[in-house]
Amino acid sequence: MLKPYVCVACEKVIVAQDGVASLIALFSKIILTVPAGTEIPPNAVAPKEWAVFSIWDPEPGDERRNYFLCTQILYPDESQFGQITRSKFNIEVNKRSQMTLQVQGFPIGQTGEYTILSWVEENEKKVSDPIQFGIEVIINFAASPAGAAT
């Protein structure tokens, strides 16, 4: 059974020809600064590309299994953002599997701690406990310059 080795959020993943991954700008918090008086709708999405990168340790025989990595993003109130993504593992014998989920937007409709959950499925059944980490979204309101028209 695949075992998680690492799972992080970052801005970009670059994988070299030899398979070594460079993770650009790991993050655990997003600070948005918006004009004072801005109301952010609950379904707002910032068009910001980011990625969930994970590495998994296989056991003998895993290369013959039909494993999928599932990733779910939860709002601070635990409702779900977007769809659960399912990506097929490409497992080679005695090699760790690297998975990168590229996400085009980040939900910003709620402030607080978003939760990223990843788990392994086979035949649409969960076969691992989810691993999870949080990303905090903070929204700062920039004061309008004195005398500026609003």
Binding site: P4, Y5, V6, C7, V8, E11, D18, G19, V20, A21, S22, L23, I24, A25, L26, F27, S28, K29, I30, I31, L32, T33, V34, P35, T38, E39, I40, P41, N43, A44, V45, A46, P47, K48, W50, I55, D57, Q80, F81, G82, Q83, N94, K95, R96, Q98, Q104, G105, P107, I108, S118, I131, Q132, F133, A142
Partner: protein, 114 residues
């Protein structure tokens, strides 16, 4: 098949021959004979970017759909685009991989560029 107007990915029928997108309601061959795709997209967004036919897919988000379809530039300001500062913070104290073990890496060291 993807709707060329709203970027909905799961059209049941090709976007032609009077088929209708269940998301943005465009009737292909009719609406797009009168208006350009950008005009139709603008009208859909101006109307609230609501799901048209039946119930929207679970967790459907029109702005994410546009962004994923390469149409993020048309997302209205208040729904996500022009925030004056979008800062990713990587406090060393805060960035904790979900799981890290000390077992050797088959790929060699993981290169982390900050």
């Amino acid at each position: 098949m993807t709707c060329p107007i709203c970027a909905y990915k799961n059209l049941s029928y090709p976007p032609r021959d009077y088929n209708i997108c269940p998301c943005c309601s465009t009737e292909f061959g009719n609406d797009d004979a009168v208006y350009s795709h950008r005009q139709l997209l603008g009208m859909w967004i101006a109307g609230g970017a609501n799901w048209f036919f039946g119930r929207a897919p679970e967790h459907w988000n029109p702005w994410l759909q546009l962004i994923q379809g390469g149409l993020g530039m048309y997302v209205p300001a208040q729904f996500g685009a022009p925030y004056i500062n979008f800062q990713l913070v990587a406090n060393s104290a805060n960035v904790e991989p979900a799981i890290v073990t000390n077992r050797p890496n088959a790929y060699g060291s993981l290169a982390l560029a900050a």
